[in-house]
């Protein structure tokens, strides 16, 4: 019984189902706990009032948006190098969640920026690089879906994801330098020097909840992709019945 046998879609398919249920339950529990702490336990911020509470969604979404891109590129690279089908499917399954997290981070950021900074959008380094990240996700998804042959789609989008990963630090630092040169909106996201421990706890719980949700929803999606791609395989018709 080897760990590697799970790299075959056939063995992974039923395991993914069980795992996705576990991760959905974990995500639900952590979300309820995190939101309870975020809304009822964490104190009101004396500078920003109640509006700061959106960070319980915003910060975890922003973390996940960047982390998922790395994970996606990792699986895409594994699929490209070792020609493992499941790795490419996993990368494929992660992309929409990553794009959604990026969008949520930008959207909640705008909602938070309006009462706090007085504007929906500033050309801050972090905002701009998050926007570019969204474009990278969109490019990956569009490329993936416009290639009909799944093998070629896997490999071509893997090249794009890897080129993206190499370039993300360059884009990030160039945007940061561009921002400091322009001295545009001199707002800082790290305004509050110290954070109440209950705020931190709420944020960490929500980050874990987002993490669990991302795993669960990617597993569900990877099962769909397996079902689509392996629709001719005999094991699938047996297991689905």
């Amino acid at each position: 019984m080897s760990f590697w046998k799970f790299s075959s879609p056939q063995t992974f398919y039923p395991v993914a189902k069980k795992l996705s249920v576990i991760f959905f339950v974990l995500a639900a529990v952590l979300t309820i706990w995190g939101l309870y702490i975020g809304f009822f336990v964490a104190p009101t911020d004396f500078q920003q009032g109640e509006s700061y509470r959106i960070i319980f969604i915003h910060v975890p979404a922003a973390w996940m948006s960047m982390f998922i891109y790395l994970v996606m590129a990792f699986w895409a690279g594994v699929g490209l190098i070792w020609n493992t089908r499941l790795s490419s499917m996993m990368a494929h399954a992660l992309a929409p969640t990553g794009a959604m997290m990026t969008f949520v981070a930008l959207w909640t950021g705008a909602l938070w920026g309006r009462p706090t900074w007085g504007t929906w959008w500033v050309w801050d380094a972090r905002l701009t690089s998050e926007l570019v990240l969204l474009f990278l996700y969109v490019g990956y998804i569009v490329l993936r879906s416009s290639i009909d042959d799944p093998r070629r789609g896997d490999r071509a989008s893997a090249v794009l994801a890897l080129v993206g990963v190499v370039n993300v630090p360059i884009i990030y630092f160039s945007v940061q330098w561009w921002n400091t040169l322009h001295q545009g909106a001199s707002v800082s996201l790290t305004k509050s020097p110290s954070m109440a421990s209950s705020m931190l706890l709420g944020m960490l719980l929500m980050a874990l909840a987002f993490w669990m949700y991302s795993i669960a929803v990617s597993l569900v999606r990877v099962r769909k992709i397996i079902r689509q791609r392996e629709s001719n395989a005999s094991w699938l018709s047996k297991s689905v019945g």
Binding site: V132, F135, G139, L143, R152, A156, I170
Partner: protein, 222 residues
């Protein structure tokens, strides 16, 4: 290896010169796009002066996208791309020849005409020099990244629009430092940092982009 590189380069340039429409399209697209901005924003010289470097850079960036699909598409359909892969010469070197040829068609003319457009935006002479210099260093990087997008979308429907979508985010750093250098100079700042980073990006892309392009071409031909 060098002979093969030169043969590919010569072939591509010859093809471009025999069919001049591409050359003219890129060149005049750049001129027209840059001339549209004053019409949209208004003829005040102080405003034009401010937006000039950025507009010229964005114009150059869009123009170089215009003929990207030509890079591989016709070679793919008539089978000569496959012959390049099968030739036994290192594919990265051969494709580098194609990319450099693309730059000669879609990059170099823009560099040469940029000072003229800069004059329309009433940029001072020193800025014109910087603008030309940054375009000279930056446009090859655009060709390198653009070729990755073109190679990934070989034979796909809507290939050229798709490759623009894939590649434009990667143009961000080049745009920032290219247009930024001119802007910084207008403010009287030192631009050696900008130039060093542009040159670093050029070296980086010459070293790594051919690998990605060769990988993408092989994937498309499988």
């Amino acid at each position: 290896m060098l002979t093969a590189f030169l043969i590919v380069l010569r072939r591509e340039l010859l093809l471009a010169l025999r069919q001049k429409s591409d050359l003219f399209t890129v060149f005049f697209f750049f001129l027209i796009v840059s001339s549209l901005f004053p019409l949209a924003i208004g003829p005040e010289l102080s405003t034009l002066n401010l937006i000039g470097p950025g507009v010229i850079w964005v114009g150059a960036l869009l123009s170089s996208l215009l003929v990207l699909h030509r890079l591989f598409e016709s070679d793919y359909s008539d089978g000569s791309l496959e012959q390049l892969v099968l030739s036994g010469e290192p594919l990265t070197i051969l494709l580098l020849g194609k990319v450099i040829a693309h730059w000669c068609i879609a990059g170099l003319p823009l560099v040469l005409v940029a000072p003229l457009i800069g004059l329309q935006f009433s940029l001072p002479t020193s800025s014109l020099m910087t603008l030309t210099l940054t375009l000279l260093i930056g446009t090859p990087v655009l060709s390198m990244f653009g070729s990755i997008g073109a190679a990934l979308t070989i034979g796909l429907r809507g290939g050229s629009a798709l490759s623009s979508l894939l590649i434009l985010p990667f143009y961000v750093p080049v745009l920032i430092f290219g247009a930024g250098a001119v802007g910084a100079q207008l403010q009287g700042l030192d631009i050696s940092g900008h130039l060093s980073i542009l040159i670093a990006m050029l070296c980086f892309s010459i070293g790594l982009a051919p690998l990605a392009i060769a990988g993408a071409v092989k994937i498309a031909l499988e």
